[in-house]
Amino acid sequence: MQETPVFPASQNANNYAIANRAAAATPTGVSKAVRGLSDRSIAWLFVAPTMILLLAINIFPLIWTVYLSFTNYASNRPNRPVINVGLKWYRDILSSPEIWTAMQATAHFVFWTILFQTLIGFSLAYLVDRKFRGHAFWTTIILIPMMLSPAVVGNFWKFLYQPQIGLFNYVVSFFTGLPPSSFEMLGSVTLAPWAIIIVDTWMWTPYVMLICLAGLRSIPDYILEAAEVDRASRWRQFWSITLPMALPFIMLAVLFRGIENFKMFDMVMLLTGGGPGSTTELASITLKRAAFEAYRTGYSSAFAIILFVVVFGLANVYVKALNKVKQR
């Protein structure tokens, strides 16, 4: 059987010419060294630097963290003997009311931000998908918040929430008639968890919108046209065609935002510092405090591993669900 050429003849000639030029430019020493190497070896040669880098900055620290999580090591006590404490930190963490409070705060934050971002993001995408006058301009405007640094967002929302001079309180006051200084978004135990949800929703809804928009634009026009021919109502078209076909994209956005918000640190740290009290102390803030303020390296390593397993486990379950939806 004759083998089908990969490239047409003219292109093959061109490829040979490029290969010859590359061979001529290769220093003699290098060409001698690689002569006789198999394609597989050369492939490994190219991939090796990346692999080594990945091992050095991802895999090794992970293994080292697992090791540290079984020790009493504290980075500010280099002279203290390092002893094996077994599963002590894991037991302490899993039975600590403070850790569970932080996990609850994280779950509250993740749940509501994802819900709001998905609803608003999809609605915005649906709107922007209808091509109206100036839609490109408005799309750009909507995208601005996600282009800002979380540190900047945290700082300026701190000013917006300031009860005496903050714009937010005045806007609420305008609509509700409440005096602007009568409530504190960041100082109230009841309102602070919602304050961080509002800011994260403001910042990341555009990101969800972009992914949803990609989903909506991937729906072939002919399907909707066929539905119109069949006199399907707008609602029926949305419910039976648009939503199911955009669902994998929505789920992908939820996955990305879920993972990101589970790890949320910078914006909340700048906005509330975890306060008032520990009301908005998310798991990552607790982890940072244990690792870099209290210097409980072994303890915080165990906590980091637990968080990693939780995120990794949930993400895996979710990806399986996502694949099922895509296969439908």
Partner: protein
């Protein structure tokens, strides 16, 4: 081309493997917090450069990040600092971990006597274990938590008359915490110069040390103690005594009644802003800011100062720092020479005149000292009754626990004062058990 590539490669390798530190024998880097006294020290150090030829570099880090930045530097064995003016609470860890150079031999050799410095500052800034003649720093910057007040409002005839009628005493800087609360309530919500003003700006910051430094300013005068017997870690009945509960309740009462709206996460900077902008009648803050405030063009002439009010006893929360030589400096001789120079009475006098709080007796015992600045007498009084947080090697964990308990109770309004202090004992007990001290 090949030669060019080889040359470029060699240059890149040279840059990559060159030592990061550019430390030279005639250069010293001094690390401290970024605040008013640091600027005074830059001025003062010009004399050292002129005398010794050593160029001084400075690494000043803003207070909220100062501990994080510097402790990470020490823990990682960094070579950024030759000299470090570190917080008093770091001394236990830095001594035990070998981060600071023990200065006893050097002091003996150079004739530097610790008896030349105020005893409270030597105890707090230099010794570890506490109170023993093992010196790890030279007292550099005395400091305590004090109060600033709007003199012009306190001297307003109408307000004075109204206050006298209401409280049957003169409107004057409060001497007790009860008076402080009443005075703050008097000003709270009042309109002065067409602007709504508030009673007091206090520390409520959550992330670093703010609320602990603020709350202890009420706890110490009410009789809070860390231990029943020093060195025994027996905290039950000391940390959560009825006096301590009363002190904490007072701090929360002032937070509730008399701070500006949204005052949930405020420390030095926020308090200075609130005071300078004419929002508050009184402000809690460190003595270190008083020289700058006295010179402030807007409110300097209208500002008065008073010592932390008393309750059962007169007491103030200790601030301030000693200057230490970092053990892995490449310029040990230069660093020690700086300490020797800094310890001289004349240099200490100039340090005070520039806005630094000298701890040398030659400055503090000078007959003209009390009148040398509008806050000098108060500084002397405060330093007579200072108390400090734990200085244990595990101080960071101990501080973090207190930050949480105080913020939960005072700002987040969760639980009672007794529960907060009971919880604090639990947290601290766990830390000391982990340390093998209990």
């Amino acid at each position: 081309m090949t030669k060019f590539l080889a040359g470029a490669g060699a240059l890149a390798a040279a840059i990559a493997f060159a030592p990061i530190s550019d430390a030279k024998a005639d250069t010293l880097t001094l690390c401290w917090a970024a605040w008013d006294p640091a600027n005074a020290l830059v001025e003062l150090s010009k004399d050292f450069t002129a005398q010794s030829g050593t160029e001084m570099k400075f690494e000043f880090v803003p207070w909220p990040n100062f501990a994080d930045r510097m402790l990470n530097e020490l823990n990682s064995g960094g070579k950024l600092c030759d000299l470090l003016i570190g917080d008093s609470q770091w001394i236990g860890g830095s001594a035990e971990n070998g981060y600071y150079v023990k200065l006893n031999d050097f002091f003996d050799k150079e004739g530097i006597k610790m008896s030349d410095f105020a005893p409270a500052t030597v105890y707090a800034y230099s010794t570890w274990p506490k109170g023993t003649p093992n010196y790890w720093a030279l007292p550099a910057m005395g400091d305590a938590n004090g109060w600033f007040y709007r003199k012009d409002w306190f001297e307003n005839a109408d307000l004075m008359a109204e206050y006298k009628t209401k409280y049957n005493r003169d409107l004057a800087p409060p001497k007790t915490w009860v008076e402080l609360k009443e005075t703050a309530e008097f000003f709270q919500g009042r309109e002065i110069d067409g602007k709504k003003v508030y009673g007091a700006a206090i520390f409520t910051e959550r992330a670093s040390e703010g609320i602990t430094m603020g709350a202890t300013s009420a706890l110490y005068p009410y009789g809070f103690k860390y231990e029943n017997t020093p060195g025994k870690y027996d905290m039950e009945g000391a940390v959560n005594s009825a006096d301590a509960v009363a002190g904490l309740e007072m701090y929360k009462a002032i937070y509730k009644c008399c701070t500006p709206p949204g005052y949930t996460d405020s420390y030095m900077g926020e308090n200075l802003d609130a005071f300078k902008s004419g929002q508050v009648a009184m402000m809690m803050n460190w003595f270190a800011f008083m020289p700058g405030m006295a010179k402030d063009e807007t409110v300097g002439s209208k500002t008065g100062f008073f010592v932390n009010p008393s309750a059962k006893v007169a007491a103030s929360t200790l601030g301030g720092q000693g200057i230490s030589v970092v053990a892995n400096t490449d310029n040990m001789d230069g660093a020690l020479a700086y300490i020797k120079w800094f310890a001289q009475p004349d240099v200490q006098k100039k340090w005070w005149s520039l806005g630094g709080y000298a701890c040398h007796n030659a400055v503090l015992n000078d007959p003209g000292f009390k009148d040398s600045q509008p806050f000098a007498a108060q500084f002397l009084e405060a330093m007579g009754g200072v108390q400090d947080f734990w200085q244990e090697p595990s101080y960071a964990q101990l501080l973090q626990a207190m930050q949480k308990r105080m913020h939960d109770y005072v700002v987040a309004d969760q639980g009672t004062a007794k529960e907060a202090l009971d919880g604090l004992i639990q947290d601290w007990t766990a830390v000391f058990q982990e340390e093998g001290k209990l």
